[in-house]
């Protein structure tokens, strides 16, 4: 089992890279081979990813989110699944390259950080704790999706503003659709993150986790992320912000999430860090 999972761990980023390249060829040159192979290749890779995470769960007898590597891999799979759903729903493949590239990036980080054996985290047997982790990862995945749409929105916005018809022009969904997708993903992510914060707070208070502190770097950064997205959504709701400002906030949010997922866990380990 260990050997098979190790092999898949190496294989996954390579497979996502190949899929991203296929979607890239499709986006930039409408290559007929890429048009035929991109979607099946993505579906196969997502299945392989699913097998990998189920294998990890079976091996460690817990939800595979006990390490930074596992959490990144779960986020990566969630983003891939969101894209598969979006493509299936709208037959829209122009955003595939960008979303799958992000999936590749997250899975590459996950594979690099993976260790042969992860220590078990007994807390996963607690339903509140499991909900906290699941919602947090789901929220992060939604914010990644929102950031990709925000990036594409900004590219098209700049092209249209400057009358510059770059490679993006005419290939992406319209600006309004990109903005709508970004807002849906932001709202979904915000709801999930709010749930994660509430569940985490409830669990921490009830279980008196060793070292539990509201001043823990992870909690502070997570609250900063929550506040950033709350402000962005509120200002958008109040029509103080338009698509461009919301998109910039979404990209800033992704940077803080990456900082939270990687840097905080490695360099500011408190009670909340992955072990």
């Amino acid at each position: 089992m260990q050997t098979v999972l190790g092999a898949i761990n190496v294989l996954l980023p390579i497979a996502y890279l190949v899929v991203a390249a296929a979607y890239g060829l499709l986006f930039f040159s409408a290559h007929p081979l890429a048009a035929r192979t991109a979607t099946p290749a993505l579906c196969i890779t997502v299945l392989l990813h699913l097998v990998y995470l189920v294998g990890l769960a079976a091996q460690h007898r817990q939800f595979p989110a006990a390490t930074v590597s596992q959490a990144l891999s779960v986020v990566s799979l969630a983003v891939a699944l969101v894209y598969v759903f979006v493509e299936w729903l709208g037959r829209e493949r122009s955003t595939g390259f960008w979303l799958v590239s992000m999936v590749f990036f997250f899975q590459l980080l996950a594979s690099i950080l993976a260790r042969p054996s992860a220590p078990g985290v007994a807390n996963f047997k607690n339903a509140v704790f499991a909900t906290h982790v699941s919602l947090a990862l789901l929220g992060y995945a939604a914010f990644v999706v929102a950031a990709v749409y925000a990036f594409l929105y900004l590219q098209l916005y700049r092209d249209l503003k400057a009358g510059r018809y770059s490679a993006f022009f005419g290939k992406l969904p319209p600006l309004e659709v990109l903005e709508r997708m970004m807002l849906w993903a932001l709202r979904a992510g915000f709801v999930a993150l709010t749930g994660a914060v509430l569940a985490g707070g409830f669990w921490g208070e009830r279980n008196y986790a060793p070292g539990f502190s509201l001043h823990d770097p992870k909690i502070l950064v997570t609250l900063a992320i929550w506040l950033l997205y709350a402000a962005a959504l509120l200002l958008r709701r109040l029509r103080r912000w338009q698509g461009r400002q919301t998109a910039l906030a979404s990209l800033a949010g992704l940077c803080v999430i990456l900082f939270s997922l990687v840097a905080v866990n490695f360099f500011f380990t408190g009670f909340h860090g992955f072990r």
Binding site: A30, G163, Y165, G170, R236, Q242, R244
Partner: protein, 436 residues
Amino acid sequence: MASPLDPPGPRPDPPLLLVGTDFRCAPLELRERVSYKAEEGEELLVHLLARPAVAEAFLLSTCNRTEILLQPRDEDEAYRTALDLVFLKRVPDLEKPGRLYVKRNGEAARHLLAVASGLESMVLGEPEILGQVKQASALAEAVGAEGAVLRRLLRTAVNAGKRARQETALGSGAVSLGYATVELAKNIFSGLGDSRALLVGAGETARLVARALVERGVGHLAVANRGAERREKFREEFPEAEILTFEERLGEIGRSDLVVATTGADEPVLTRQQLQEAMSGRPSRPLLVVDLGVPRQVEPEARRIENLFLHPIDSLEHLIQRNLKKRKEEVPRVEEILDQELVHFRAWYRGLSAEPLIARLQKQAERIRRQEMELALASFPPETHEGLERLTRSLVRKILHHPSTRLRAKKGEEDLPRLDLVRELFHLDDEDPDGE
């Protein structure tokens, strides 16, 4: 002018003769005189078919070209007939060198495919030509001018045209100001059907843009103009449009998604401040402003307004040039499609021409069998004659089975020389299958 006369020889294509003139050969004042309306075209086709030299005929007459395609019985006579009836009778000047082009056989077939796919159009890849070829084909069919060969060739041409548009980007991207405006709008708004458009000005440019917007299903169209006469003229052509006075334009901008300025005014008709005020009532909705005027009709500083996309005429020209470049890059892929379709057409024609050859081959073999049987039967007892008859028939049938099957097989252009080889090997050109 090139002569259509070539010695007939072994050829993969049916005899075809195409005579035509287009925007490259003749100016508009000559082209418009050889332009045929449907009823005139019908009459012309009837006249052409009445000539013994013409077996089938097809006339394509658009604003950019007039072409007559014939399947001739006598190429020389058919050429003179086409030249006189279609062109010189109306415009004798067309006899001057370079005014007309003549294409024959495979070249004519390929030209028709290229025309249908938009490769020969003034605006590369323009879509109207395919519909015009279909209409012209329907006319020829109605008159009875299309026979098996032209019907098949026209079906091949229409198929090539469809494939060129479906499988390549030859027809993609706008190449006119009206459609470039639509293309910009489609990059911003999720659906033109839900969008409101305001045209400031009601002249010819405004009507061009309005046609493109209406054709692409804009949700609401309004026009604001100073002159009442032009407003009325606009209303006649676009009865669905809301007609506004010039002053009403400012109130309408706040409700619009797309504003196109096309007046010939010397001063801007939309200022930054006016647009800023309009945007303040709709902060989260983008606004596309297209300025097609020279001098500019919209203050360039309006570009700085958040969520407002201002495109002057240069920007649209830039977009059109970009799209034309992309279309040109698709030409080799379209040429491949034309080659593939021609191979299919030739294979069909070859199959058509193989049948008489097979019949000749079988009749020649049967004649030889009978001759040999007559000579041989005297040497055999009468009770064996019936058996010998069966045996020799069976031998001939079995010997010819495989060659006949292979000749009928439609494998494509590469097999075409075989028919001539078979003719030569079996001396079939000397035979008259019906002369027995």
